[in-house]
Assembly symmetry: C2
Homo-oligomer: 255 residues x 2
């Protein structure tokens, strides 16, 4: 086994840096793009891209451009917090969509961000363009507030004390105000983000619990702020969130 | 650079073998399981699993068991033939579901298999249990017949001449009969798989074309064989398939 200097990139790091070269702004890359974005020589990039393509993690089209491949998608479909959760949740999200015809989302927490794992487009056009895999800071979205309010107390305190990014004049940037909002989310069981991301959108969210009772995800509706009726939307969102929780094995009587 | 004997596993191969250790029967693995399934020493498995976990491709739960992680899912969501295609197709699949309330699927071809990338559950319970990421041989399913019928002629001939696996007494296993069925699929624009996978299910499928006019995917409905009305279902499936094709940039007038 070769002894590498501490912190030097390993073969595993280099292979993963090739995968990390792909993102929503760069879903299709040439070999040169990959080598530049991954910080690898063209020779190394060529060898690693070859191994990834042979395995099926990448696919090369006729023009020589590389895309993420179906084989990686098949493995990733096993992620309990990705497609597997989304698969369990989808019927309840569809019910929520049927009952409201609004934009419906499912999201999980990853560090200080919320990551959207499902999005059903409703009849209301709002300025927020969410896509699957999109990230936003926890304090700015309904799903994020629902997830943060039920996070470990130490994590919540650390989050509130960190810098709170601002997107509109309505975004909560004061730690004291955020703490009060989180307490209200825990009390009411509902999180509302009012024009915090764009000036025209409001979201209503509720936490989803797993079999062990901890909050595993959150479900929300996004509507135009102008005709938002939170008291009307909140019960539907809560019912959907509880349905998903039960499907995940949550038993309220044990709580 | 180390010169490896031809065919010896590279560092990249070993890392990918860790990911390949996870499948639908093994979505959660201990370090020992991973080392055994990937054919790696415990030391090597430990090092690679550590790198994958740090990057987020794997996640370790409280009990020390590893799962596929959210970061891999985020990268895989960029796969044009996976979530990206599914995201474009979902509204049309939902319309098809709304119009029929039957089981609706979207699938693509990978080698000699069809891979399901979306599945909406309808009111009809059939014995076929499809999940996202499931594979079946092309000749046995409606989506598979639609994809095979529009594949390269050389590939079709090679497929027909290869062994045709049998699942029920209705599965097409005769190459000559398969060729005639494929010609009929091309003529009618519709593929029907009648009890080929289970004795109780029938599927009706239509091809989805990409911007360049080639068949990129297939959409289908699965219903109980007993009350299947193919002439009623076929137009709805074709309309959904054409809607997805248009959303992918297909222009029929150019065909």
């Amino acid at each position: 086994m070769t002894v590498l200097p501490r912190g030097a990139p390993t073969a595993a790091d280099r292979l993963l840096s090739v995968l990390a070269a792909f993102d929503h702004e760069h879903p299709a890359l040439s070999l040169t793009d990959i080598s530049r974005r991954a910080g690898l020589t063209l020779t190394t990039a060529h060898r690693l891209v070859g191994a990834l393509t042979e395995w099926g993690a990448l696919e090369r089209d006729e023009s020589g451009v590389y895309h993420v491949g179906l084989r990686l998608w098949e493995v990733a479909a096993l992620a309990p917090r990705g497609l597997a959760l989304r698969q369990i949740a989808l019927p309840y999200l569809e019910d929520l969509y049927e009952a409201t015809h609004e934009n419906v989302q499912l999201a999980v927490r990853d560090g200080r961000d919320v990551v959207y794992i499902e999005w059903l487009s409703g009849r209301s056009a709002v300025g927020v363009h969410i896509r699957i895999g999109a990230r936003w800071p926890l304090h700015a979205t309904g799903v994020g507030l629902a997830l943060l309010a039920h996070g470990e107390p130490g994590f919540q305190e650390e989050y509130c004390a960190g810098g709170l990014a601002s997107f509109t004049s309505y975004t909560i940037t004061d730690p004291g105000r955020l703490r009060r909002v989180l307490a209200e989310v825990r009390r009411s069981g509902i999180a509302v983000s009012d024009r915090q991301i764009t000036e025209d959108a409001l979201s209503v969210a509720a936490p989803v619990r797993g079999a062990d009772g901890t909050v595993a995800a959150a479900v929300s509706i996004v509507v135009p702020h102008a005709d938002a009726q939170v008291p009307v939307l909140a019960p539907a969102v809560r019912v959907a969130a509880r349905g998903i929780s039960r499907a995940l094995g949550w038993q309220p009587e044990r709580a």
